[in-house]
């Protein structure tokens, strides 16, 4: 197998997730909704997903994203952290986010 130089990225609270250049988050005026355009598929993120994706700017760490969302949603960071990390791992596995 020739996969030696390629490894699955695993999320940690110090990861600084960044939306891939080829995954485009844009507002669609025809449908009045946010769309995420990717190589073969268009995603329609719900409000929470959208709030996470908007923070995937390569500057915020996962810890900071959790803190930011906890503030926005008036929730405890430790309650939402597992969901945020699971979401980011899934989007990394789909090659839409770099961790």
């Amino acid at each position: 197998m020739m996969e030696s130089h390629r490894q699955r990225a695993i999320v940690s609270d110090q990861s600084r997730p960044l939306l891939k250049r080829y995954a485009r988050l844009q507002y669609d005026p025809v449908r009045s909704a946010w769309a995420l355009l990717s190589p073969e598929k268009v995603f329609w993120p719900d409000e929470v997903s959208l709030d996470i994706l908007k923070l995937c700017d390569g500057r915020h760490t996962v810890l900071q994203i959790v803190a930011e969302l906890a503030g926005q949603y008036d929730a405890a960071g430790e309650d939402i952290a597992p969901d945020v990390e699971e979401f980011l791992q899934e989007w990394s596995d789909r090659f839409l986010v770099t961790l």
Partner: protein
């Protein structure tokens, strides 16, 4: 139709039928259009502008070989300006020096490269083109070097099904993000060559195991999409996500169709862009409305609890095998004609391997 009609999300633009390769599995129609029938640069640009207005978010630029159109950069740049996601579907042969850079600079979002064999002789045999593999690999390397995301499309059939593990290694070594292991769909030239292309059941089952293991092993490393072979299936695919539901295609001459094989349904008439607007065609074309929703469905589809999962399957396959475009896709186990699929596999497999390369190559004017 009781449901509200939603705008289309995706569009396949077959910019030309011309192609340097002559692949025996090609899904283009047998009656290929010559260059003089192709839409002009201005007509395509007007069509793309209207598609964006209509709500199309993603356009697959295909063919034939789309890079044979010298105006491709203009199309990409127009779509990019409108925020439409562009996916170039290319065979990667005959792309001039500097072209990929120009396409990237014009705003191309993604490139899908077809590779007919993991090994050069297979690629040369299927596409009837010497030296094709080397050119394809060169294109793949260049695409990755330019920072464009790369999908490798591997169309699978009897002559390369044993190369699936090698395709996976190749996609990894090239640095592709995605690999499509796409079993050939029998439309167009593939239907003409069906007996020469049909794999046997054991090979298909082995392939499924190999792909499932690799998908698990390579999670987060390489995305592997599997397009299952219809003739071996239990349930049909939701072809195009449902007829005229969220996507459509445009032929090189501007004819607008719900899918690339829809022209094989003789009762349907398709309008050309220019004779009518895309907006009109999407909403009012009789051909588009013919199989929308479920009013057209016959039994067993009509009362089936899967009808909004697969929308009755592929209309063109129903036409080709059941002789009726409104019939249940015979790929479905509930179709009264389902056993016909097994007979067709049997007929093809009965052909001795010495005759299995009796190909009818894809050529303009020579079906």
């Amino acid at each position: 139709m009781s449901d509200t009609l939603l705008p289309p999300i995706g569009m396949l633009a077959e910019l030309t039928h011309r192609c340097p390769l002559q692949c025996v599995y090609c899904s283009n129609p047998l009656e290929l259009l010559k260059a003089d029938k192709e839409l002009s640069t201005d007509a395509w640009l007007a069509l793309f502008e209207e598609a964006a207005d209509l709500g199309v978010l993603q356009i697959h630029l295909s063919g034939g070989e789309p890079t044979l159109r010298p105006d491709l950069e203009q199309f990409v740049s127009c779509l990019s300006r409108r925020g439409v996601y562009t996916n170039l579907i290319t065979a990667g042969v005959g792309i001039a020096e500097g072209r990929l850079e120009r396409l990237r600079d014009a705003g191309l979002d993604h490139l899908q490269l077809s590779i007919q064999g993991a090994h050069a002789p297979t690629t040369e045999k299927i596409g009837n083109h010497r030296g094709a593999q080397e050119k394809k690999l060169e294109v793949a390397r260049k695409v990755v070097e330019l920072g464009l995301p790369l999908t490798i499309n591997a169309p699978i059939h009897r002559h390369n099904i044993e190369e699936v593990p090698a395709f996976i290694d190749l996609a990894l070594s090239l640095g592709a993000q995605r690999l499509e292991i796409a079993n050939v769909q029998y439309a167009g030239w593939a239907l003409l060559n069906r007996n020469a292309l049909m794999p046997d059941r054991e090979a298909v089952e082995r392939q499924v195991e190999i792909v499932e293991e690799a998908q698990w092993r390579l999670q987060g490393i390489l995305a592997i999409d599997f397009v299952a072979p219809d003739y071996f299936a239990i349930y049909p695919k939701p072809c195009m996500g449902g007829w005229a539901r969220d996507a459509f295609m445009v032929a090189p001459d501007g004819k607008v169709l719900p899918c690339h094989a829809a022209g094989t349904i003789p009762t349907l008439h398709f309008e050309r862009f220019g004779e009518a607007s895309l907006t009109d065609i999407w909403a009012h074309s009789e051909a588009f409305n013919a199989f929308r929703g479920d009013d057209w469905m016959l039994e067993p589809c009509r009362s089936c609890d899967r009808k909004e999962i697969d929308w009755g399957g592929c209309r063109c396959q129903a036409m080709a095998i059941a002789g009726n475009a409104a019939a249940t896709d015979p790929a479905c186990i509930k179709s009264p004609l389902h056993s016909r699929m097994a007979s067709l596999i049997g007929e093809a497999n009965a052909i001795p391997s010495s005759n299995a390369e009796d190909f009818r190559y894809r050529r303009i004017g020579r079906a």
